[in-house]
Structure formats: structure tokens, C-alpha cells
């Protein structure tokens, strides 16, 4: 691959840049024509919104436009840091995402390992098919089910009351919001997320296990010394990706599940942005709040990647 590029570079070096550009365009004109919609898409829906971030430093009014609005510096950031919402949404976002990682990250790995140990193929297939299924159910339906099941006379309370728990409407209890949010998330995505680990597991060379068996290794020892080291790179990459997402709790599920009674634990940065920006039309302020969130997210990916590069030479880029 590299060799080809080098020779190409040498042969075309004599021509001037503009000549090469012209030649490239005439040879590949149809390809550039095909690239046009993609370029327009990215400009319209990725790059102009990125440019739109500058309204975080302005007092944006739709009438004046982005350029015409007045600069206000860090006023909106300052206002956010000063308000009670900063501490609350920051804490909620951090706690929800840390607990999600803590409980949600190992779950698909354990599931994949357990599925991998199943020797009956039909049962294996059935487990996989059914655990993947919740991934495809829409969030609206999932949240509708959660609301229905956790209601005072819902299924969950009927089951719990057999163990002597007094029925309550769980979604009105701030102390239970995180548990509901995270456990339903694990329920929905555990199966689907296990696919990637199952793929890594099937790529392990079977001769390793045969050799281990001849040496008298038990299944537990095989797990510790063969299976886990073999899928470690996959685990590390998934961990980096997950750490990058640490401070970004999506608003979709939050705004379907929360209500003013649980705001103390359920209101996260992104749902606050949604309320302030879309519902309240405080465009500049909410853009500033959103920018803080994505800045934290990007820093986290960067450092997680750097750290992993250092200790294991596995990296995203």
C-alpha cells in the first residue's frame, strides 16, 4: 500500500499542484459529483451547527442572526455556574453515567462469557435472539412499560408486595430514579452489547483450549488464562468509548421518564438544555450549557485514549 503511494508521488511530482488538481478533477469528475451531496449534508447539519456554537458567547436573537447578535463573553457560562442548576445537573449527570458504567459495562461481558459456555446450540441461539430483542423496541414503548410497571398498582409492586414491600409509585421517588433508569438500560442493551464480545470470543484459537485441557486446566483456569486475555483488547476499546460517553447522558430517555417530583436526581445537563433551549427558547444560554457538556466529553475521550495507549498500546486513533 505504502509502496504504491510513494511511487505515485514520485511520478507526479514533476507536475505543478494546480495541474494535478485539474487532472484529478477531470479523471474523477463523477466521484466528486457523488461527493457533493455528502459535503452539503455535512456543511448544513454538522459544520454550520458547530459554527453556531458561537451564540454561546452572544445574546442570540433570531431576528439579528448569529453574526448580528451582541457579544457577551462568558456571561451565560457565568450565569450557569452561579445557578443551583449547575451543581444539580452536573452531579446527576456524573452519578447516572458513573453508575451506568459500573453496572452496565460488565453486564454484557458476563453475559457473553455465560453464553459462550453453553454447549447446547439451540439454547444458545434462543438466549441470543431473545436477549437482543429489547434493543429494537422503541424508547417510547420501553418508557411506557416502565411507567406502567412501576405505577402503584403496576406489575412490579404486585410482585414486591408478596415480599412485604408497600406499593409506591416508584417514578415519583427521587431516590429510585437512577436505579430505574440504569437497570432498564441494562435490560435493554445488555444482549445487544454482548455481540461484540461474542465475536471476540469466537475468534479465539481453539487449539489454545485443547492445549490447556491436555495440561489439565479447569474451565475456570481456562477462563482466567485464555479467554479473558484474548478478549482484553475488545474490552479496553469498549471501555475507552464508554468513558468518552461518561458525561453525556442522553436526553431522550430522561425526558420520557422524569417529572418535576424527581428533578433533584433525574435532571441532567442535556435534559436541562432541552428544557431551557427548546421549551424555553433561551438559545444562547442553553448552547453554553451544552458546550460545557461536550467539552467535558471530549476531554474524557482524549485522556482515556491517552491512558490506554500508555498502558496497553490500544488506542482509537
Amino acid at each position: 500500500m505504502n509502496g504504491v503511494e510513494i511511487t505515485k508521488a514520485v511520478t507526479v511530482k514533476e507536475e505543478s499542484f494546480s495541474k494535478r488538481l485539474k487532472k484529478d478533477f477531470s479523471i474523477n469528475k463523477y466521484i466528486y459529483l457523488m461527493a457533493l451531496p455528502m459535503i452539503i449534508y455535512f456543511i448544513l447539519f454538522s459544520y454550520i451547527p458547530m459554527y453556531g456554537i458561537i451564540i454561546a458567547f452572544k445574546d442570540f436573537s433570531p431576528r439579528l442572526g448569529i453574526l448580528g447578535s451582541k457579544w457577551v463573553g462568558f456571561k451565560h457560562f457565568y450565569n450557569f455556574f452561579k445557578s443551583i442548576y449547575f451543581g444539580r445537573t452536573f452531579k446527576n449527570t456524573a452519578l447516572i453515567s458513573i453508575y451506568s458504567l459500573l453496572w452496565g459495562f460488565p453486564a454484557p461481558i458476563i453475559l457473553a462469557l455465560l453464553i459462550n459456555e453453553v454447549r447446547i446450540n439451540k439454547f444458545k441461539k434462543a438466549v441470543q435472539t431473545i436477549t437482543y430483542l429489547p434493543h429494537f423496541i422503541s424508547l417510547v414503548v420501553i418508557c411506557g412499560l416502565i411507567i406502567d410497571f412501576t405505577a402503584t398498582d403496576g406489575l412490579l409492586n404486585v410482585i414486591l408486595s408478596k415480599f412485604g414491600v408497600t406499593p409506591v409509585n416508584w417514578l415519583t421517588k427521587p431516590e429510585w430514579f437512577r436505579t430505574i433508569y440504569i437497570s432498564s438500560g441494562i435490560w435493554q442493551s445488555m444482549g445487544w452489547d454482548s455481540i461484540i464480545y461474542l465475536a471476540a470470543l469466537t475468534n479465539i484459537n481453539p487449539s489454545l483450549y485443547e492445549a490447556a485441557m491436555i495440561d489439565g486446566a479447569s474451565r475456570w483456569q481456562q477462563l482466567i488464562h485464555i479467554t479473558l486475555p484474548s478478549i482484553a483488547p475488545t474490552i479496553v476499546i469498549m471501555l475507552i468509548l464508554n468513558i468518552g460517553g461518561l458525561m453525556s447522558v442522553g436526553y431522550e430517555k430522561i425526558i420520557l421518564l422524569y417529572n418535576p417530583l424527581t428533578y433533584t436526581t433525574s435532571d441532567v445537563i442535556s435534559s436541562y438544555v432541552y428544557r431551557k433551549g427548546i421549551l424555553g427558547a433561551n438559545y444562547s444560554f442553553s448552547t453554553a450549557v451544552g458546550l460545557i457538556e461536550s467539552a467535558i466529553g471530549f476531554t474524557l475521550v482524549y485522556f482515556a485514549n491517552k491512558f490506554s495507549k500508555k498502558i496497553s498500546e490500544i488506542s482509537l486513533w
Binding site: M34, L114, I115, Y132, L145, I195, T234, I278
Partner: protein
């Protein structure tokens, strides 16, 4: 190899079997429960609490009401529109873009790759995105659910990987025969990448079917709402009043309204989920393939 299981391994196998079986029940039961509720007699259902293994009584009245309901019907047809037109636009754009970035001898290759990579890590965020859609005049048009989500970078990369596996010699010889890039893409590469194209078409279609947030922030008129948004009103905001033709007056009517409200809730869940659940077992392996494709770098 003949290999004898020890006692501890046998117990592990049994425990594992039981654990996974419980997990399967936990994953599948909620939907099964909803299905049983949707087929039950509404009055018995209202009195009943707890686990259901078969419908209480049997009636399809809930479904009749659901299909008669104008909001749900228009929602359903709107969703069909968003799924078909949206997926078509997605596929056209993704296929062309994937072809472009799979041609490595372009002088602008690197520039295009950078253009695609940056949005994977940075985005303007919700509000600038919303304002941009507004500025383009897409608010309260059906196109607001088509164009802003016309391309997924993840799917683009999956498809690029598939296109890269088409032998270069095939493309070269087609070029020598005078084929242009459109012919190469549509006549050679696309027929050879059918499996992957099917996978990402399914990813896109399910995405459109389940999406509701963009519809909620971009659309104002109820006659453009997709099914998921109608569903949200019924399930989350609990607005089923308009399902009834007349408001309850007497207490008997009130009980009737309450009973049917619950029934309709379960029926709409089934109506909106059944298409996916029915198709799902047949396409599952393609989805799984898609995840694997996405996970292989280069």
C-alpha cells in the same frame, strides 16, 4: 477429544442454564404480558393485578378501537412514509458517499476523511442544530425528519468497509471498458455488497420507525406526527381522552372509559412493536453481522 466433565463443571452448566433461562424470561416477559393484556377483557383487566400468563377473557375490541382511531391511523401512515422515503434517501446518500471515500486515489481523499471524522467527536449540540434546521425552513415540514438525519457516519463506515472488499481489478477492468463511476457503483459494487446494504438499510429503517424526538421538536401539526409521537401521548402523557368519542358523564361511562383507556394503551404498544418483533427473527443475523462489520477497523 474424549473429555469427561467433573462434578463442579456439571453444576456450573446447570446453574448457567438456569440463570440464562431466567434472563430470557426477564427479557421476553414484559412484551408477552402486554400482548396478553391487549387481548383481555377490559373490565376483568382493570380488576386484575399481577402476572398474566393468558388473556383474561378474550376480546379484540381494543384493536378495533385502535385501528378506528384517526390519530393512530395517520400516525401509522406517516411513519410508513418516514421509514420508506427516509431510508431511501439514507441509502442513496450513504452508498454514494461510501463509494467516494472508498476511492483512495482521489487527491481530496484525506480532506474528505477529515471532514467525516470531525463530526464523530464534535457536534454543535442540540440548540445550534435546532436553529439550523429552523433557518433552513424545515420546521413543521416532513423533510425535517428526512434530511437532518440523512446520513449516519457509523453506517457510512460499515458500507465503506464492504465496498473496499470488492476486488480493485474488477473496477479497473470496468473503467477500461469505458464505464463511468456511476455505472461502476450501481452495476458492479452495489450488486456485490447486497448483504451489507441490506444490513444498513435495516438499521436506518428501524431507526426511523422508532424515532420520536426530532418529530417532537420539529413538527407542530398533528397530521404529520409519526406513530411514536402519538404513542408518547398515550403512554407517557396519558392522553387517551380523544380516543373516546364522547366524554364520560355517568359513573358507568367513567368506568368504561378508564377500562378502555388501559386496553388501548396495551394495544397501541403491540401495534407499534409487532412489525419489528415479527421481522426481527429473520433479520437478526444480518444485524449481528452489521455490528461485527462496524467493529473491524479498516
Amino acid at each position: 477429544m474424549v473429555y469427561k466433565k467433573s462434578v463442579s463443571e456439571k453444576t456450573f452448566d446447570v446453574v448457567n442454564f438456569i440463570f440464562l433461562s431466567i434472563l430470557v424470561i426477564v427479557c421476553a416477559y414484559p412484551l408477552y404480558y402486554v400482548l396478553m393484556c391487549s387481548l383481555s377483557d377490559p373490565y376483568q383487566l382493570m380488576k386484575h393485578k399481577g402476572i398474566l400468563l393468558k388473556p383474561l377473557g378474550f376480546t379484540l375490541n381494543g384493536y378495533k378501537l385502535v385501528f378506528k382511531n384517526p390519530s393512530i391511523r395517520t400516525g401509522f401512515f406517516n411513519t410508513l412514509f418516514y421509514v420508506t422515503v427516509g431510508t431511501f434517501v439514507n441509502m442513496l446518500l450513504t452508498a454514494m458517499s461510501a463509494y467516494v471515500i472508498s476511492r483512495k486515489n482521489l487527491m481530496w481523499h484525506k480532506f474528505l476523511m477529515i471532514m467525516i471524522t470531525i463530526p464523530m467527536f464534535f457536534s454543535g449540540g442540540l440548540i445550534p442544530f435546532y436553529l439550523q434546521v429552523q433557518r433552513l425552513g424545515l420546521i413543521n415540514t416532513r423533510w425535517a425528519l428526512i434530511f437532518p438525519s440523512a446520513l449516519s457516519i457509523w453506517n457510512l463506515i460499515i458500507l465503506r468497509t464492504a465496498f473496499n472488499s470488492v476486488p480493485e481489478s474488477l473496477i479497473e477492468s470496468a473503467k477500461l471498458d469505458g464505464a463511468n463511476d456511476f455505472t461502476i457503483l450501481f452495476k458492479i459494487i452495489i450488486p456485490l455488497s447486497k448483504a451489507t446494504l441490506a444490513v444498513i438499510a435495516l438499521f436506518y429503517a428501524v431507526g426511523h420507525w422508532n424515532s420520536w424526538f426530532n418529530a417532537m421538536i420539529f413538527l407542530r401539526d398533528r397530521d404529520k406526527f409519526p406513530l411514536q409521537l402519538i404513542l408518547r401521548e398515550i403512554l407517557i402523557s396519558n392522553e387517551t381522552r380523544e380516543m373516546m368519542n364522547n366524554l364520560p358523564r355517568t359513573s358507568a361511562q367513567f368506568i368504561q372509559a378508564e377500562a378502555y383507556k388501559t386496553l388501548i394503551k396495551y394495544c397501541t404498544i403491540i401495534v407499534s412493536t409487532l412489525p419489528i418483533v415479527c421481522v426481527y427473527p429473520f433479520i437478526q443475523k444480518y444485524f449481528v453481522k452489521g455490528v461485527m462489520l462496524g467493529s473491524t477497523k479498516e
